[in-house]
Symmetry: C2
Subunit: 175 residues, 2 copies
């Protein structure tokens, strides 16, 4: 059933998020997934695929975390969005973006790079649509990426700084 696959993906995501992509052995991943080695390999036929499955799962979780039930007013929306990025960092990842980490761990993998690109593009597109900043996807990307990286060092101060940069974007919008 898909149920088993989801449980596996969720466990893999958590394991990679907590311990990085290099350290956990397949036996560790099996424990995290809560299934036997046989079943794990049946659903996910290699360790590289385990990484992809984890990222797939995280992608959908991240999207719902960021965009479900956002407010309507542009300024409030932007603030809420950046707060949610910070909240995600606080609860889900102590350090950086999991997609970038995956690519960094295996810079040669074209599949990983493609997953990263799709993930980032979709986040930026949705963020622009939600804040009425269509055409400024890349500025939004820079702000959100910057917040994600800087959060681990500066916590709430990083969120406040990202908000200030974002407001500059909104008010510069008259032009």
């Amino acid at each position: 059933m898909t149920d088993t696959m989801t449980r596996i993906a969720a466990g893999l995501e958590q394991a990679f998020a907590a311990r990085g992509f290099a350290e956990p052995s397949v036996e560790d991943l099996r424990d995290a997934a809560g299934v036997s080695l046989r079943t794990l390999y049946k659903y996910v036929p290699s360790r590289a695929d385990m990484v992809l499955a984890a990222l797939e799962h995280r992608h959908t979780r991240y999207l719902t975390h960021l965009f479900d039930g956002l407010p309507d007013a542009p300024a409030a929306t932007l603030d809420a969005l950046l707060d949610r990025v910070g909240a995600w960092m606080a609860t889900e990842t102590s350090h950086g973006c999991l997609f970038h980490s995956a690519v960094a761990a295996e810079p040669g993998s074209a599949r990983l790079r493609e997953v990263l690109g799709r993930h980032k593009a979709e986040v930026a597109r949705r963020a622009a649509a939600a804040t009425g900043l269509e055409g400024h996807e890349i500025e939004l990307s820079v702000i959100m990426e910057g917040l994600t990286q800087a959060w681990s060092l500066h916590r709430d101060a990083a969120i406040a700084s990202a908000k200030r940069l974002g407001h500059g974007l909104l008010s510069g919008e008259a032009a």
Copy 2:
């Protein structure tokens, strides 16, 4: 001699930058360093120390690349700084910040986290001093981190966006 140590550190930096922190074996690192295994272990007694040596070397190289001979006028300085970040990405790293990658590869290492923190703090401090934006270190961090991450996907467009965000900071400075 320190000469040998520098040669080793430079080789290690290049190897890790090109192939990530997980993939290269110690024998690969030996080839990159251009010394024998014995000598490598004499100067750098474990693989974890090889990572640290590489980061140490990159730190000083990055600082000189960013800050040597910067112009004086605040706006020109900021642009030049962000251009240099982009140039660094183009020539030195196809993907992301090497320090973040190192931490991501081994999230448990306190030594790595400390090196990351010191690196980022020094870069932000110098950037603020060079652009006359003292007190805005964190905004600068967000912009530079964001550019570093977004560059791999958007290239020159990421640089232009980072500049726009930075100019917003400079003109908002009247307040």
